[in-house]
Every structure is written in structure tokens, then in C-alpha cells.
């Protein structure tokens, strides 16, 4: 009985340690860089993914929460990259909010911000 139990515990320990070794490093990023300060309207809002993602909703909002017009360059198809073109912006703080469906079925959301100086 004790031998059986120690075998089960050993197998569990091997599984746990093997998984820890298999962990990946985090890589996330966007254009513009989150928190960056720009002097002119960015030509493109750009996001790159490591696995195809369907961006179902994306919006650019100013500090008051008002939505700014933006033309989507990527549709609803699964894609490694997403880009959209904002119209000229006034100085101020802006946030890009997005939601999407990952290829493994996860619904995801995220946001990043930038500031446009005078």
C-alpha cells in the first residue's frame, strides 16, 4: 500500500515539475506602445498576436470616454495581426479597448493607452 502510494506521489511530482519547466515567457505589445507620448496622430493602431485571433470589437476612446472614428483594416477573420487607421486626433489621452476570440475558444479583452501632446 505504502509502495503504491509513493509511486502515485512520485508520478504526480514528475508531472508537476515537468510542467514548471514547460512554462513560456510573456510577450505582449502594441503600436503605439502602451503609455507612450506622441506628437502626432498615429498612422496605425496595430496589434500582433502569437496565435490567430478574431478581433470582434475594437474602439478608440478619449479621456471623456467618447469614441473616436477609426477604420478597421482587419476583418473578423482569425489573424495574427490587427490594424486600424484612426482619423486625425486632438491632443489628449486615448485608450484602445478590444475584445476577441482566440483560436482555442477563449474570449479575451485588453486595452492600451497613449497620449497625444500639443
Amino acid at each position: 500500500m505504502n509502495r503504491k502510494l509513493s509511486r502515485i506521489l512520485a508520478a504526480t511530482a514528475i508531472c508537476l515539475s515537468a510542467t514548471a519547466l514547460g512554462a513560456h515567457s510573456e510577450k505582449e505589445g502594441t503600436t503605439p506602445v502602451d503609455g507612450t507620448r506622441l506628437t502626432e496622430t498615429p498612422e496605425m493602431i496595430h496589434m500582433v498576436f502569437d496565435d490567430p485571433m478574431r478581433i470582434t470589437m475594437v474602439r478608440l476612446v478619449n479621456a471623456d470616454g467618447a469614441e473616436m472614428p477609426m477604420e478597421r483594416g482587419t476583418g473578423l477573420e482569425p489573424s495574427l495581426e490587427f490594424h486600424a487607421e484612426p482619423e486625425p486626433l486632438s491632443p489628449g489621452s486615448y485608450t484602445v479597448e478590444w475584445r476577441g476570440l482566440a483560436s482555442d475558444g477563449h474570449a479575451m479583452q485588453g486595452s492600451f493607452s497613449f497620449e497625444l501632446a500639443e
Binding site: T30, T31, M57, M108, Q109
Partner: protein, 319 residues
């Protein structure tokens, strides 16, 4: 953890509620079938009541499971009601692993309805349905990570064993209320013997699954997922303590026809069911608001742009 909960929007809360109700009803439907098969000491009246419980639970589970599709579609469109009814987004969700999982579960739940057919074939069909409904939990989310087959088998086993436990609450409480104490004691004793194996497998399959997902490490406690999981574990320990009390104290008291033993067992089962409800709500919240620490940057899709900086990214309706 609290930050994740307080920043959740209305659709996320709705998603957690629907998911928790779907969990509870599905476990009750699966568990009722398993108890019918595994506990021979059930009285005829107990069997009839359990068949009814299985059916009502299966119908409720089908409703809440199907509701997950429009709730997910709404989330994807920014939490709007328009999103919940958008045919294109609904189609996208139906084509995703969540859609497959929902379809398999609905077929499984439909088969469970055969439990009303009082023939051996009815019970066999219901048992197949129970296995399908359990397996549906392994067809989406983190269960699709590698090693997929191992994770799938572990999650299915975890659900089957947990369901057996949940499914026994109602018949045990009924027996404690209506059957003679000695008869109820024999049933509780039989359940206690079977539950030992089930509880062991729930724990072992859960621990190995967590390990394979890379979340079984002390540093995970710094993440919302780890913190919510710790809450779940505390509740689980409470359930274990109550189950041990039932087995070691209340079941012998019932067998000896001690006064008030039935009423005490019913109260204990009530508290146990409350703790399990807490576990299900916590699970629904943790799979909706967070992800195992290693999968956030590994198995999941992440934003990558080597020349750019980090962006805030979270899971909205992640199971």
C-alpha cells in the same frame, strides 16, 4: 483578486452566474444517474425521486448551457444586448470550442432524460449521456492545452467523481427524512464507502490537472487565479471535514437509530451543499476572470510585438 471582481462589468457577472448555474445543474443531472447506478441500497421511492431529479436537472442544465452562447457573443461585442443576438457573432461562438462543448453537453443531457425509461436500456443510455456531459467540460478552454488527451481524461474523471458526490446530496437527505433510521444508515454507509474513492479521485485529478496547467506552484498565489483557487481549496477542505464527520459520526448514529441522527445528517448535508455551491461559484468566477498563470503567456494567444511595449490584457469569459 478583488480588483478583478470589482472591475467586472454586468455581462461578466451574468456570465459567472449562468456558468455557475450550468455547473450545478449539470453536476446534479450527471450525479443523479451515477448514484442510481452505484447505490444499490436506494429505496424504490428514492429511485423514483432521483429519476425525477435527474430529468429536471438535465432540463435546467440544457437551458443554462445554451444560454452561454448569447452571453459569450454579448461579451465579444463589448457587453451589448445587440451582440447577444448578432447572427454572425453567435455563429462564430458556435464554431468555437465553446460551441462544440455546448453541443456535446446538450446531447449528453438529452440522453440523461432516458433515465425515466425504467428499463436497463434507459439506464445505460443515461449513463452514456452522463459520460458525454462530463467529457464536454474537457472540450474547451485550458483543457485543450497539451497534453490534451491526458487533460481531457483527468477533467472528465474529476467531473464524474464530483458529480457522484453532488448527486448523492438529495437522495441521502431524502432517506434521512423519510426512511427508517437504520435503512437510511445503510444507504449513508454505502455512499460513504464509494465516496472515499470518488473524493480521492476528485482531489488527485484536480491536483494533476493544475500541475499540468502550470498553476501548482507557490508563486501562483500572487495571481488572481491562484488566490481564487485558494478560496476554492479552503471550501473543499470544509466539505471534506463535513463528509468525514458524516461518515465517522452521523452514519454510525443513524445505523444505531440514535435520536435526531436523521435531522443532524440533513443539516450537515445542507451545509455541505452550500459549501459545494461556493466552490462552483468560485470556479465560475476564476475561469471567467482569470487564467492559470503559465497559460496567460504560453498556451493562450497573447499580444506580441517585440519592438513595442506591454499592453494590459485580461480574460473576459475565459472558460
Amino acid at each position: 483578486m478583488l480588483a478583478a471582481l470589482t472591475s467586472a462589468d454586468a455581462v461578466t457577472w451574468l456570465s459567472i452566474s449562468v456558468k455557475a448555474l450550468a455547473y450545478a445543474a449539470t453536476l446534479s443531472a450527471i450525479g443523479s444517474v451515477l448514484v442510481l447506478v452505484a447505490l444499490r441500497e436506494l429505496s424504490e421511492g428514492g429511485r423514483a425521486a432521483l429519476r425525477l431529479t435527474a430529468n429536471l436537472s438535465a432540463l435546467a442544465a440544457a437551458l443554462f448551457t445554451a444560454l452561454r452562447l448569447p452571453v459569450r457573443a454579448s461579451f465579444l461585442m463589448g457587453g451589448t444586448w445587440d451582440g447577444a443576438t448578432d447572427p454572425m457573432i453567435l455563429g462564430m461562438v458556435a464554431d468555437s470550442p465553446l460551441g462544440v462543448s455546448v453541443a456535446v453537453r446538450l446531447v449528453g443531457l438529452a440522453l440523461i432524460l432516458a433515465v425515466l425509461w425504467r428499463a436497463r436500456a434507459g439506464l445505460v443510455l443515461a449513463l452514456i449521456g452522463a459520460c458525454m456531459a462530463s467529457a464536454s467540460f474537457a472540450l474547451r478552454g485550458h483543457a485543450l492545452s497539451e497534453p490534451q488527451m491526458v487533460l481531457g481524461a483527468l477533467i472528465t474523471l474529476h467531473i464524474l467523481c464530483l458529480a457522484f458526490w453532488v448527486g448523492a446530496f438529495a437522495p441521502l437527505a431524502r432517506a434521512a427524512r423519510r426512511d427508517p433510521p437504520a435503512r437510511a444508515g445503510v444507504l449513508a454507509h454505502e455512499f460513504g464507502r464509494r465516496a472515499l474513492l470518488a473524493v480521492g479521485l476528485v482531489f488527485l485529478s484536480g491536483v494533476i490537472t493544475l500541475g499540468l496547467l502550470g498553476a501548482a506552484k507557490p508563486s501562483a498565489l500572487s495571481s488572481p487565479y491562484g488566490q481564487m483557487f485558494a478560496v476554492k481549496l479552503v471550501l473543499f477542505v470544509g466539505v471534506l471535514a463535513l463528509a468525514a464527520f458524516n461518515k465517522l459520526t452521523l452514519t454510525p448514529a443513524l445505523l444505531a437509530a440514535a435520536p435526531n441522527a436523521g435531522a443532524r445528517l440533513r443539516r450537515s448535508i445542507g451545509v455541505e451543499a452550500g459549501l459545494v455551491a461556493g466552490i462552483l461559484i468560485t470556479t465560475a468566477a476564476l475561469t471567467t476572470l482569470s487564467a492559470p498563470p503559465s497559460t496567460v503567456d504560453g498556451a493562450q494567444t497573447t499580444l506580441i510585438a517585440p519592438q513595442n511595449g506591454p499592453a494590459h490584457q485580461t480574460f473576459g469569459d475565459a472558460s
